[in-house]
């Protein structure tokens, strides 16, 4: 089985994020692999370990930080790495990324594509599903378990609105995974050393056999006009001391001040 796994570089969401003049202040930010993509990589490596899969990851974007997350993917156990580095792609939307990934898929052909269910920077959750739509192959999102049935079929469990859905999928297919599917492994020292020596297949759009126009880059369906700070809540009243006293006090405030009890 050939598996393609998508990984994205995202801003570390644990850090303070400042907004100035409608833009995110880049100073002091750090970048990591999208948490849900780490789940996708882990799911891929587990499939490789249990079913002899050939694994490839792809990341769209250039720069040191992007190389770093691909190296992390190698260290976690992925065999091959593709980096789509094209300066035109900085202002792209999910649909454009899906079109680029479509080209990556079509170049080699894969049986299974695994993506994180969304990216921590945009929180969009669209790319994997759109990719399946463009490729006209089946897709299940929000997946918490993958089981290989045979060369052409897998069974996946999905968290849906009414419970856990068990879906039989014919390959090729796209699966987007959520964080409860697994606990991503921490790459060891040896893995990280080996990852440094691995070759990354770097391509721009023309090497991929396409153009910015063909992937929809010149006709973006939506554009971010500005970023704004989110409303932050103020810390309220915090009580310490005798448990009985402060509990009675807080219940009184909930009833008479906040009027919510």
């Amino acid at each position: 089985m050939k598996i393609l796994t998508t990984i994205k570089k995202v801003v570390d969401v644990e850090l303070t994020i400042n907004v100035e003049a409608g833009a995110i202040v880049e100073d002091g930010l750090q970048y990591v692999m999208n948490a849900w993509d780490e789940n996708a990589v882990e799911a891929t490596v587990q499939l490789k370990e249990n079913n002899n899969a050939e694994t490839t990851m792809v990341s769209i974007g250039g720069g040191e930080d992007n190389t770093k997350i691909i190296r992390r993917g190698f260290a976690m156990g992925i065999d091959n790495g593709i980096q789509i580095d094209d300066p035109t792609l900085t202002e792209a939307d999910s649909s454009v990324f899906a079109r680029v990934l479509q080209k990556v898929y079509e170049k080699e052909g894969y049986d299974l594509i695994i993506t994180g269910k969304q990216a921590q920077d945009t929180d969009n959750g669209q790319t994997g599903i759109m990719l399946a739509e463009y490729l006209a192959i089946p897709c299940v999102s929000n997946v918490i378990a993958i089981e290989v049935l045979d060369d052409q079929h897998i069974s996946v469990s999905r968290l849906g609105d009414n419970g856990t859905e068990i879906v039989a999928l014919e390959l090729p297919a796209v699966v987007t995974v959520t964080d409860s599917i697994n606990e991503p492994r921490l790459p060891g020292m040896r893995g990280l050393m080996m990852a440094k020596k691995k070759k990354i297949d770097v391509m721009d759009l023309s090497a991929l056999g396409t153009s910015f126009e063909e992937v929809g880059g010149t006709a973006l369906k939506s554009e971010i006009v500005e970023f704004m700070k989110s409303e932050t809540r103020e810390a309220g009243q915090k009580f310490e001391g005798d448990a009985a006293d402060i509990t009675a006090k807080v219940v009184d405030l909930l009833v008479n001040e906040a009027k919510v009890l």
Binding site: D161, E165, I246
Partner: protein, 319 residues
């Protein structure tokens, strides 16, 4: 006049309040509003769909649509959107909405936006507001495509009191089943407990509750108050709480009148699911816990001691 198609949010056979919220917003921006309902045994819901504020009801009612399958579900939405000539296609915040919206957008060549909190119409120009980066920032996004498919963040729009509509039913053809993604089984998570999305008060349990004894203790408080009983991811991972109880970025987004966080540290992924609550009460033994930065009222203490006291105090005022 803009045309808004709202996808009816139906869970366990019941129409959720979010449907009226989205239809109310459609009317508030001066749009013509229709609803599309997809599922099985929907006949009895039709008057309710109209009363929720729609003037046309597209109905895809077939036993084959009882279990959610994203492909056919999206096909029904595309069919209704084309028949209605919808400019704006809105899903409630739900797993089905998140799964179907990118498909619908791809098929219609529309823009796609997830978790929107507002829509601004300026003549023909549509803009939306949405949070990003786990709610740390907001984006204002200009829509260039002719149509917009969006998932509306839970609690973003309010239902207009006394909203009504007219019954005008259009039946949709049942799309073919997806033979490449066959749903084999649904392991229902229905518990008979109040749905977190419907609850006025939500009480959530975190790792501070440690084990089943702690969970049961807090559940008793939720029962006393008729509150929804939620969880942080830690207690779901620990196997103490069901997946559908998880509040946060990968779980439910709730905005109740009162949210009580019991032994929850306040990680940003948890906050992203509850910081729209009207009033937040936190109980945590660590005075430095980040949850206190968003709590209106904080009790620094051991929940095993505080929760029984809370039950007592509340019983006193309730009698």
């Amino acid at each position: 006049m803009a045309k808004v198609l709202v996808i009816a949010d139906i869970k366990q056979g019941a129409l959720k309040g979010s449907t009226a919220e989205l239809l109310s917003k459609a009317k508030a921006i001066g749009a013509e509003a229709a609803v599309v309902a997809i599922g099985s045994n929907l006949e009895a819901l039709i008057p309710e769909l109209a009363n929720a504020g729609s003037d046309t009801q597209y109905i895809a009612d077939d036993p084959g649509l009882e279990l959610f399958s994203a492909g056919p579900y999206a096909s029904c939405v595309v069919d209704a959107a084309n028949q209605f000539g919808a400019d704006l296609i809105w899903f409630s915040f739900s797993e089905s909405g998140k799964a179907a919206s990118p498909r619908v957008a791809a098929q219609l060549g529309a823009a796609c936006a997830t978790e929107i909190t507002d829509v601004i119409l300026n003549g023909d120009q549509v803009e939306i507001i949405r949070p990003a980066i786990a709610n740390k920032v907001k984006q204002r996004v200009k829509i260039n495509a002719e149509r917009l498919v969006a998932v509306v963040r839970a609690g973003a729009f309010e239902a207009t009191e006394g909203i009504s509509g007219t019954e005008n039913v259009v039946r949709l053809a049942t799309p073919a089943a997806d033979v490449k993604a066959v749903i084999k089984e649904l392991i229902s998570d229905a518990t008979g407990e109040i749905d977190l999305a419907d609850a006025d008060i939500v009480i959530s349990v975190g790792r501070g509750a440690k084990d089943q004894t702690g969970v049961d203790l807090i559940r008793a408080l939720a029962d006393d108050l008729g509150a929804g009983f939620g969880s942080s991811r830690a207690m779901v991972d620990g196997g103490f709480m069901a997946h559908n109880k998880q509040v946060g970025q990968t779980g439910k987004i709730v905005a109740p009148t009162l949210y009580m966080a019991m032994g929850i540290s306040g990680a940003i992924q948890h906050l992203a699911g509850m910081n729209g609550s009207k009033v937040i009460l936190a109980v945590n033994k660590d005075p430095e816990a980040p949850i206190f930065n968003v709590a209106d009222y904080g009790i620094v203490g051991d929940l095993f001691e505080v929760v029984p006291l809370l039950r007592e105090e509340i019983k006193k005022i309730r009698s």
